[in-house]
Amino acid sequence: MKQRVKRVFALLLGIFIVSGTCMEVKADDGMEVGYTYNYDYWYDVQYSPDAYKVAGVYTAVELGLDKRFNSAEGLYVRDNMLYLCDTGNNRIILIERTDTDQFHVKQVVEEFKGNTDVKTFSSPTDICVTPDGFYFICDKGNHRILKLDSEWNYVMEFLKPNDSTLDQAADFLPDKLEVDDVGRVFCIADNVNKGMIKYEADGTFSGFYGASEVKYDWTDYVWKKLATKAQRSAMESFVPTEYDNLYRDAEGFIFACTTNVRGADLDSGADKPIRRLNMLGKNILIENGNFYIIGDLSWDNAGGYKGPSLITDITALDSGIYFALDKVRGHIFGYDEQGNLLYAFGGSGNMDGYFRLPTALEHMGNDLIVLDSQDASFTVFTPTEYGNLFYKAMAEYDAGDYLASGATWEQVKVLNGNSDMAYIGIGRALMRQGKYEEAMEYFRLKWDTTHYSKAFKQYRKAWVEEHIGWIFLVVFLIFILPMIVGRIKKIKYEIDTAQIFKD
């Protein structure tokens, strides 16, 4: 008996060991961690494989600097150079990228030469570098925007606009800036809610740009009518929202973002945290996705984080795909040109790929660089195979190579069966090939009514053309035949009952 028990145990042990070693080893694609996610048609979170992975996190130690970054706020990328505004240390650091994960400090700039009184920076918050080598710097503490040449010689400065619409007593606090191809400067300044300040290349103030329209509804209006003067002054006044950051994309349009949003207004689509402004300052952002471009769709108040996503920076790839950075939960959202959410990733924390207080987002090619001011570091992300497949499929579709695009989306589908983009991409490729019925199935599975309607229209047309004979036959049998029979019967009845035949 004892022998038997022992044998059974030995057998069981053997089974456990063998099954343990034979267990399927899956590649870590990030599905289990829940780092990267997307929202489906029902606004439910669907985890996906990682689209971006961390290539490296760089602090002052890795870069060999004497002081750690102090609440760094500004970041700019041109070619393989990274320009970092170390705001708290009043310096600008030029970093060169020599390889995927190789970053070397090229220069640390604390002062410049030239014909001006103050030759140092005071809390520089943003920098912009033009292709011809000029530096534009928001020198916030000195209330000016500096223009320096490539040898760090003073060229000129942009000061507070001498305009009656601005409160002249208040300090001019330029915060973020962008420069266009002809040297015009677009600046976001603190406490200016009329939009961005726009300067001509020669430094003259040419007006405000892109002010958001003031919104109020009739309930506000009624309340204001009923309120006393004291109550009225205590109410919040209707002022346009201030912008937080801006980015000039490859086509010359300006992406702007604001953190001045309310949860309910985001849900209803009244608040637009991300805007793409044309030359007239009008929002031309395309929102053809299933939901508004507001970052996270649902926000629980767990873990000390509450409220909606606050978009603090935007960057747009040359292909038109743009990324938005949420400073509340440290999420990065990638959208395509049509406004579909491709993927969202990131989070708050101390691990690589998580942030404590992200302030700036830039891209170098398809890589993303996020500046974390509290963690005094910047993180470099490179696209994974999954992320690259997205870019490839979209590029192929834009180039008109629908067959290849469909094949690439198939690969995406293999990696992530939940991807709405993959299904719709396959469907669109099939539709271009005239395979409407198959395309309809793909669209139906992902609730894409617009594309389904398009495919269905073609399918129905083909179906009617094919079955036109049967359709006529059915119409004949149901409508025409009874009519003829009825007519014949009536004639027969009239003949039968006619007086002349009675006699």
Partner: protein, 218 residues
């Protein structure tokens, strides 16, 4: 009962009363008067119409093209969904009867039920063809579908008003007033039901805890 079911006349009468629903919806004032006073309607036909309405409502979920109705199946409880029609119907009949008997209403409960049920006829009548239609049109051509959907509801609402008018022999304004009052009556019934069940469960819990206490002491 069984003898009644075996007779052929029963079925002829049933089909006639059911067919009469088509007359009622096109001639509401005349139709609802005859429905009760001339006994041209039957409870069996009324039940049939209610069941058809329920089937239509469920079938609509399943068979309407997703272009017009996107169903989150995880959030659907079929019993709750059916109850969302039956419960208001029952509450309305009871609430309306309870009020109108106090204010010269001539209708009996069965007549109120019959009238309300007959008034629901446009719903299955319009919605079933619309379910089929939704599958052969595109999103851009869907305006007709939306229009027909609201038409069926408005038509049914107008039929309910005329049904109540004829059954209780009320004027239009009095009917409208008592329809609104019925809604409040329904709310009161729901409130009392909740109160009742809550009290009962409290009472039972009291005796259960006493029994437990005795058992622990023994």
């Amino acid at each position: 009962m069984l003898a009644l079911l075996k007779k052929k006349e029963t079925y002829i009468h049933y089909l006639e009363t059911l067919k009469y629903a088509l007359y009622v919806i096109t001639h509401p004032l005349d139709g609802f008067w005859d429905l009760t006073h001339e006994k041209r309607g039957s409870i069996a036909a009324a039940n049939t119409i209610v069941i058809l309405t329920l089937i239509t409502r469920v079938a609509k979920l399943q068979f309407t093209s997703f272009l017009f109705l996107q169903v989150y199946w995880e959030g659907i409880n079929i019993f709750l969904y059916i109850a969302s029609v039956l419960l208001p119907l029952a509450l309305f009949c009871v609430g309306n009867w309870g009020l109108t008997t106090l204010f010269d209403g001539k209708g009996r409960m069965s007549q109120i039920y019959m009238g309300t049920a007959y008034a629901l006829t446009p719903y299955p009548l319009i919605q079933i063809p619309m379910i089929i239609l939704s599958n052969v049109v595109t999103k851009e051509e869907g305006a007709f579908y939306v229009f027909a959907g609201s038409l069926s509801i408005i038509w049914a609402a107008m039929l309910i008003i005329s049904a109540m008018m004829q059954i209780h022999e009320y004027t239009l304004s009095k009917t409208l007033f008592f329809l609104v009052a019925s809604l409040f009556a329904m709310l009161v019934i729901v409130f009392i039901l909740l109160l009742f069940f809550s009290m009962i469960s409290q009472g039972i819990a009291y005796f259960v805890s006493i029994a437990k206490e005795i058992m622990f002491r023994m």
